[in-house]
């Protein structure tokens, strides 16, 4: 149609050129423009064309993945997404295939990880375990990346590899910005998830051009497969709900309505790939979790070996009030546990990240960089972040310490006061925290997650008190069992011993540290529960004034925090004075410290309403600690 229209519009124009004999130049320009418009229209039409397996057959594995994901092939060769009546357009198919392959890759890796977790170690695999891994790899070899193939070569003989490597590697990833998000739209916490379809902006780009696809081996798909006969792929490692299916959305761009197909694949969901701890409408229970039940869960849970080791410790040694909450949350919501200093930012041990998509991640740093400043009499130790983002936030490059450089090799490794440490030629050290110490911090983060989840986070100080009580009680039980506290790094040991032997000072110090601008966890104006209530009630009187005051307060705190951080760097001798002056001169916005006003009335009222929950949980933790101290028969300020 487009070509016919183009011809019809061109005839009078050519006639005009020839008969009327007006300038040839104008004729040629017009002709060229007409042709170009026609080509563009043709491309648009091609992009909107439906994909047909008859015209472009898919590879064996891609066909299998499509069927697994409940796509249906129509008799005319077009492909219907699950629960959607609009066939897949040609331009979208490569992206769908890529997503399916990526999901399958992750599923394979998780399954292999599970087999290895259950085994006695990779070097001591039984025949059955080895064969299971081989089978998984063989079936999915075409979609494995070059690195994965290299990692798993040891499972096959050379002859097998020669044959398997004939299958070309999967094509490179398509541009990420062109991929549509297949997750549900962001859900504000703690409201229940909204099933509203994603709204695309009016300026949404048209469907991306079809990338060059290497010719896959031809395969004949069955003409139509009833949905009931589809192979139902269950989550391999954990029970998890299927992701919602997004329907096609019509986006109006001016006078033209463009059909944009938002493809959502109901792929086989493994907990590791698609369980971002979305908050459910119904909260997890608070019942006791039996050790055997949790062990069964851990066997199939989507966590790595270290994560599972920490969770086992938590299940075994956490105080009952924390254990009940944390295990139920874990078994229901699968919050992610990751070892990622980059995402931990300026946090020394761990950080809870709750994204706008209502997913939760407990990020552990795993260690830190130790920089010792030697002085005439003694010296001092400085702990630095492994994440370059922390330095960038202060407007500085990462310091030139060897421990921060990936290419530098340590001259010595030793098990010192800070645990396992790699020592470099310039004296800098990279220290790693023990699994036991990290398990304590993970427990505290999971308690913070529970606070957010169950809405007892109205008082930040109450949350911190409860989370840290759980952490210290956990360490105390573990130390009693092991008869040693060597697994704690000096800083954690200091805090723990202060809580143990000088609790009055501990609580004062905790409050004064958490309200300091650099930590910023607790607002000094609303530290206690009574203070939160008083502050909120006064703020409700004049919301505009409150919002302005809040913005001003946060801005001031951010400026103080930045100045304090730069002052610490200045004292460390890691940077030239000019470099620090430059960082100080940077405007606040460039350092990512800009603040936004609070949304006043609703937030304050919600906070006021949630205070009784905070108070109840705090009282429970206080009672537990009080009983524990009474049973222990120790007095505060008493140290052996």
């Amino acid at each position: 149609m487009a070509a016919e229209n183009r011809n019809i519009s061109l005839i009078p124009f050519i006639h005009n050129c020839v008969v009327m004999r007006r300038g040839f130049f104008i004729c040629w320009v017009g002709l060229c423009l007409g042709m170009a418009t026609g080509v563009a229209r043709g491309q648009d039409a091609a992009a909107q064309a439906l994909y047909s397996v008859k015209a472009e057959p898919l590879s064996d594995i891609d066909s299998r993945l499509l069927l697994k994901a409940r796509y249906q092939v129509q008799p005319d060769g077009t492909v219907l997404p699950p629960d959607v009546s609009t066939p897949v357009v040609h331009a979208d198919m490569p992206y769908i295939v890529q997503r399916l392959e990526s999901s399958q890759r992750l599923q394979v890796l998780v399954q292999i990880d599970l087999i290895l977790s259950k085994s006695q170690g990779e070097k001591n695999l039984t025949d059955a375990e080895r064969e299971s891994i081989r089978s998984l790899l063989r079936d999915n070899w075409p979609i494995l990346t070059r690195k994965s193939r290299k990692d798993f070569r040891a499972y096959f003989s050379l002859r097998e590899l020669e044959k398997m490597d004939q299958v070309p590697l999967p094509q490179a990833s398509l541009a990420e910005q062109d991929l549509k998000d297949q997750e549900a739209p962001p859900v504000p916490m703690p409201a229940p998830p909204s099933p509203a379809p994603p709204v695309l902006p009016a300026s949404a780009p048209p469907a991306p051009p079809t990338p060059a696809v290497s010719a896959p081996p031809a395969v004949n798909l069955p003409a139509a497969i009833p949905a009931a006969d589809m192979p139902q792929v269950q989550a391999a490692v954990a029970p998890s709900p299927a992701l919602p299916v997004a329907a096609a959305a019509i986006v109006s761009t001016g006078t033209t309505a463009v059909m944009v197909s938002t493809v959502t694949v109901v792929a086989p969901i493994t907990a590791s790939t698609a369980v971002p701890a979305a908050l459910p409408p119904a909260l997890p229970g608070l019942g006791e979790v039996a050790a055997a039940e949790f062990e069964r869960f851990l066997t199939e849970a989507p966590y790595g070996r270290e994560g599972k080791a920490m969770l086992r410790l938590i299940a075994q040694y956490a105080p009952p009030f924390a254990r009940r909450r944390v295990l139920n949350d874990l078994m229901t919501l699968f919050p992610r546990i990751a070892l990622d200093p980059g995402r931990a930012g300026d946090h020394a041990y761990s950080r809870l990240i709750i994204s706008p998509k209502a997913s939760a991640s407990c990020v552990l740093t795993g260690g830190a960089i130790l920089h010792e400043q030697r002085k005439f009499l003694g010296g001092s130790v400085m702990l630095l972040s492994r994440s370059s983002g922390t330095y960038a936030a202060a407007g500085l490059p990462a310091p030139g310490l060897q421990a921060l450089q990936t290419e530098a090799a340590p001259i010595q490794t030793q098990n010192g006061a800070w645990g396992q440490a790699s020592i470099y030629a310039d004296g800098s050290q990279s220290v790693s925290f023990s699994v036991e110490a990290e398990a304590g911090y993970l427990l505290a983060e999971l308690m913070r997650f529970d606070a957010r989840l169950r809405g007892w986070d109205a008082s930040a100080y109450a949350v911190e008190t409860v989370a840290r009580d759980a952490q210290w009680l956990f360490y105390d039980t573990l130390i009693a069992e092991r008869q040693a506290d060597a697994f704690l790094d000096p800083q954690t040991r200091e805090s723990f011993q202060q809580w143990l032997y000088r609790p009055a000072e501990y609580y004062d110090d905790l409050l004064q540290s958490l309200t300091a601008s650099r930590n910023g966890t607790v607002d000094p104006r609303k530290a206690g529960i009574a203070a939160v209530a008083e502050f909120d009630r006064q703020s409700l009187v004049d919301c505009n004034k409150t919002a302005a005051a809040q913005t001003s307060f946060r801005g001031l705190a951010a400026r103080q925090a930045r100045a304090g951080m730069l002052s610490d760097y200045e004292g460390s001798g890691l940077y030239e004075p000019e470099r620090l002056s430059g960082a100080r001169a940077l405007p606040q916005a460039e350092s990512g410290l800009a603040m936004t006003p609070v949304s006043c009335r609703t937030d304050l009222q919600l906070e006021l309403d949630a205070l009784p929950k905070s108070e109840a949980v705090l009282k429970e933790a206080v009672a537990v600690e009080r009983n524990w101290r009474r049973e222990r028969g120790e007095t505060h300020a008493e140290k052996p």
């Binding site: 300026d346 630095l384 000096p490 110090d509 004064q512 601008s517 103080q560 304090g564 206080v622 009474r630």
Partner: protein, 193 residues
């Protein structure tokens, strides 16, 4: 000039000076101390008006906290706490023993204490001392370095129990709060009596 006129002039000058001094004092509202009364009505004392105060119940009993300004590195906020310790409470020990243990040195955190000085607080014989210790601050944030924390401590025995008043700050700025601590003690009024 008559003698009576001289007296009137002198009185006027004294009055003017008094008014001016009073205005001077009122010119710095942020630092003007004001009396704060805890909700448990255990005590009252004067504290800087810009400090945020609240009272709560922790595992050791009722405690009053008042939070002041940040230290120059924004790692530790100056604060004053008042605890009432009595025999029924968890972890109770006699005041003399408590003072000895609070002053005990600790090599791990380089903890040191000054000698104990007696001071009359609200008619009670208080024991006052100072403690310094080294901590890695800011708490659980990076970059973190060793910083010395200074505590002014007063233990005020009253009947069977005693008060522990503690003002903690970074050592860099502890002298700035000496007067605040003294003023609190000078105006301290126990209500439990």
């Amino acid at each position: 000039m008559r003698k009576s006129h001289r007296v009137i002039c002198l009185a006027a000058v004294i009055l003017c000076v008094g008014v001016l001094r009073a205005q001077e004092g009122a010119g710095t509202p942020g630092s003007q101390p004001q009396s704060r009364m805890t909700t448990s009505r255990l005590f009252s004392c004067e504290l800087p008006s810009s400090w945020n105060a609240f009272e709560e119940e922790d595992a050791l009993g009722a405690v009053f906290h008042s939070l002041g300004p940040d230290d120059p590195t924004a790692s530790y906020r100056t604060g004053l706490s008042v605890r009432w310790v009595e025999p029924e409470q968890t972890g109770y020990m006699e005041p003399k023993k408590a003072v000895a243990l609070m002053r005990r040195s600790d090599r791990a955190v380089r903890r040191n204490a000054t000698p104990v000085l007696p001071m009359r607080v609200a008619g009670l014989l208080a024991r006052i001392f100072e403690v310094t210790e080294t901590r890695v601050l800011p708490l659980e944030r990076l970059p973190a370095g060793e910083k010395v924390i200074h505590h002014y401590v007063a233990v005020i025995p009253d009947r069977a129990g005693y008060y522990v008043v503690r003002l903690s700050s970074a050592r860099e700025v502890y002298l700035d709060f000496h007067d605040d601590f003294r003023r609190c003690l000078q105006t301290f009024q126990p209500f439990a009596r």
